[in-house]
């Protein structure tokens, strides 16, 4: 732990209170408007939520992975759309710079990302390349001391509000694979960069995504993260590696929230003259939720501690993301079932979570891709 227990507990307590008092009461409003109001964004900035994972030297709080995951448990107890507002600044939108950036890039961008003055976004996925990210075709052609970017990125979280994009583009030949990819820092107002319309989607209203289009978009050579061509895929994978644990933490927080909501409903709702929580078939659902959630939590905390201790966690991280995202899917499904008809109604908010959590099994590597990573690592370990 990088912070002493007392200070960290106080920090955690403040986040817990902020979530319960400021965010939970506005979940329905945000979902309806598909937008997080400016006053709430200001409060999030003032609290310091945009800089949780950015090192203290660059204006952030510099939580270690275990601390970040424990904060994610708390932030998970409300609509995931809230977390998404500052999620990219703590995760995929800043970590490329934190992990592989030059000192100059860190000084230039991290303080503003930490304060929330700048919104960071991460552009890897393309219309034709999702899971097969090593094959992306957005090109970056060298022209003197500039690079010229052409191509389209798809499903980019926070693109509509972003000021800075981490863009993976191909500096090598078309078939150069992972080794031909370079990561660039592209400011949103660079000529040649434009956005598609925000996409309508199943859940997480308030968190917005859109296409990012590059047409002869020129960036200087010092926009390359770390200054070296061909490192971009590695950078992207390191960023996603850490992100898997925080997403898993969020899944656990949401599951805990849904379990509480379900317990309350099961205690209050009566049928056949008794609270439905007294029926063993309801109890079985509650028990399964609690057990699976606790298992996911133990797995994620173990992975986070190992990561902080410097162990490689590629396999464990994939296991966390796979298990926690599938777990919260099952928990949300049971929560709807326990709530009966009320679970299906918008007014109760349970169906909203059911739709919201569906995304966790898809982005930052689908469940199938996590399975492939886990098995690949297992086979590698076996051969050694």
């Amino acid at each position: 732990m990088s912070l002493d227990r007392e200070t960290f507990e106080q920090l955690l307590d403040t986040v817990r209170r902020f979530v319960a008092e400021r965010l939970v009461p506005r979940e329905a409003e945000v979902a309806e408007a598909d937008r997080i109001p400016d006053d709430l964004l200001d409060e999030m900035r003032a609290l310091g939520l945009f800089g949780l994972s950015i090192p203290e030297d660059y204006g952030g709080i510099g939580l270690d992975v275990e601390e970040e995951v424990r904060v994610a448990f708390e932030l998970g107890r409300t609509s995931p759309a809230f977390r998404s507002a500052f999620g990219t600044n703590n995760g995929i939108g800043s970590q490329g710079i934190v992990i592989d950036g030059t000192e100059d890039q860190k000084r230039r961008y991290l303080p503003k990302l930490a304060s929330g003055a700048t919104i960071g976004s991460f552009a890897l996925t393309e219309p034709d390349y999702g899971s097969d990210a090593a094959s992306i075709q957005t090109s970056a052609r060298r022209d003197g001391n500039l690079y010229v970017l052409n191509g389209t990125k798809r499903f980019i979280t926070n693109a509509p509000s972003a000021d800075l994009f981490t863009v993976m583009a191909r500096t090598g030949a078309k078939d150069s694979g992972a080794g031909g990819i370079t990561a660039f820092l592209v400011e949103a107002d660079t000529p040649g960069l434009s956005l598609g319309k925000p996409d309508a989607k199943m859940g997480q209203q308030g968190a917005r995504i859109s296409d990012v289009i590059f047409e002869d978009c020129r960036v200087p050579e010092d926009a390359i993260i770390g200054g070296v061509e061909g490192q971009g895929f590695k950078t992207a994978m390191k960023v996603l590696d850490r992100g898997r644990l925080t997403i898993s933490g969020t899944c656990i927080g949401v599951a805990e929230r849904l379990i509480r909501d379900s317990l309350r409903y099961a205690s209050e709702r009566k049928q056949f003259g008794k609270p439905i929580g007294s029926f063993q078939l309801i109890q079985a659902m509650l028990a399964d939720c609690e057990t699976e959630c606790a298992a996911a939590k133990a797995l994620v905390l173990d992975a986070a501690r190992r990561k902080d201790a410097g162990e490689p966690i590629t396999k464990l991280g994939a296991m966390c993301k796979y298990y926690a995202s599938e777990m919260v899917g099952r928990v949300a499904d049971r929560a709807v079932q326990i709530h009966g008809g009320a679970g299906y109604l918008t007014a109760f908010g349970i169906e909203r979570f059911y739709r919201d959590v569906r995304l966790f099994r898809i982005y930052e590597g689908t469940s199938q891709i996590q399975q492939l990573i886990i098995a690949r690592e297992m086979l590698k370990e076996f051969r050694q």
Binding site: L3, D4, E6, T7, Q10, L11, T14, V15, R17, F18, E43, A46, L47, G48, L49, G51, L52, E56, I61
Partner: protein
């Protein structure tokens, strides 16, 4: 102007209180503690005065067990400058606390004491008044508004009949009510910075105060559980019950 803000560590307002089996008090072991909500309002007001330039320094002081330091840190994270802990593992009665605070006020040369009107544990509502009397300072209690002017300080008090406005000379003791302000969340970076601020620790003996108890608690019991209500089927039945059973009309 130096502002002193006394704060108390109490059981968190969201915790369900349980009486100890031996009826000597309430259960505090493994119970979540927090700053008394009225004290939080006082800290917020002092920090706002500092931000507005009317206060030069804000000092948080707490009397209590070693863990009261955490409560002082909360105040420091909200923006106060430094802390004073009067460490005493013995239970402290309002008069003892008022005497301890008087000693700190004099030591610090404070110009204003801003404190909660009462703590949500004992609900005594005495310490501020006792402190003002011991110091011989004017007091403004239950304030919902505060304005510094050239000659002193103008406060609005929430009294039973409405609002009372007082002009007080400085130095003064003020006790704050719920509607004075809405306390901020300490920002996460400030929580970390609060670690580096100083907290000086004294014992009651250091301050020359005798804190031995003057009150004796005979027993503590939980209020009787609420009985289930009954549904009446007509207005006439309701009136009958109010008149003949409850005897209230």
């Amino acid at each position: 102007m130096k502002v002193l803000v006394p704060v108390k560590r109490v059981i968190d307002a969201n915790v369900k209180i349980r009486v100890k089996a031996d009826q000597t008090g309430v259960e505090t072991a493994n119970v979540k503690m927090a700053m008394n909500p009225f004290c939080e309002i006082a800290v917020e007001e002092a920090v706002r005065m500092k931000e507005a330039g009317t206060a030069s320094e804000v000092v948080i002081v707490s009397a209590g067990a070693a863990q009261a330091q955490e409560t002082i840190r909360t105040g420091l994270a909200m923006g106060a400058d430094r802390g004073v802990l009067i460490q005493s593992e013995a239970a402290l009665e309002p008069l003892a606390v008022a005497k301890l605070l008087k000693a700190v006020v004099e030591k610090e040369g404070a110009d204003l004491v801003l404190m909660g009107k009462q703590a949500i544990d004992g609900d005594n509502n005495q310490t501020g008044q006792m402190l003002a009397a011991l110091l011989g300072w004017p007091q403004g209690t239950f304030i919902s508004k505060l304005e510094k002017n050239d000659s002193g300080i103008k406060v609005t008090r929430e009294v039973d009949g409405g609002l009372e406005i007082l002009d007080l000379k400085m130095p003064a003791v003020l006790t704050v009510d719920l509607r004075l302000n809405e306390p901020r969340y300490a920002s996460l970076p400030n929580i970390m910075k609060a670690k580096k601020k100083t907290i000086d620790t004294f014992s009651p003996e250091d301050l020359g105060v005798d804190v031995s108890p003057r009150l004796e608690t005979i027993k503590v019991v939980a209020p009787p559980p609420r009985k289930a209500g009954v549904m009446v089927d007509s207005v006439a039945a309701l009136v009958d019950k109010l008149r003949n059973e409850a005897k209230v009309i």
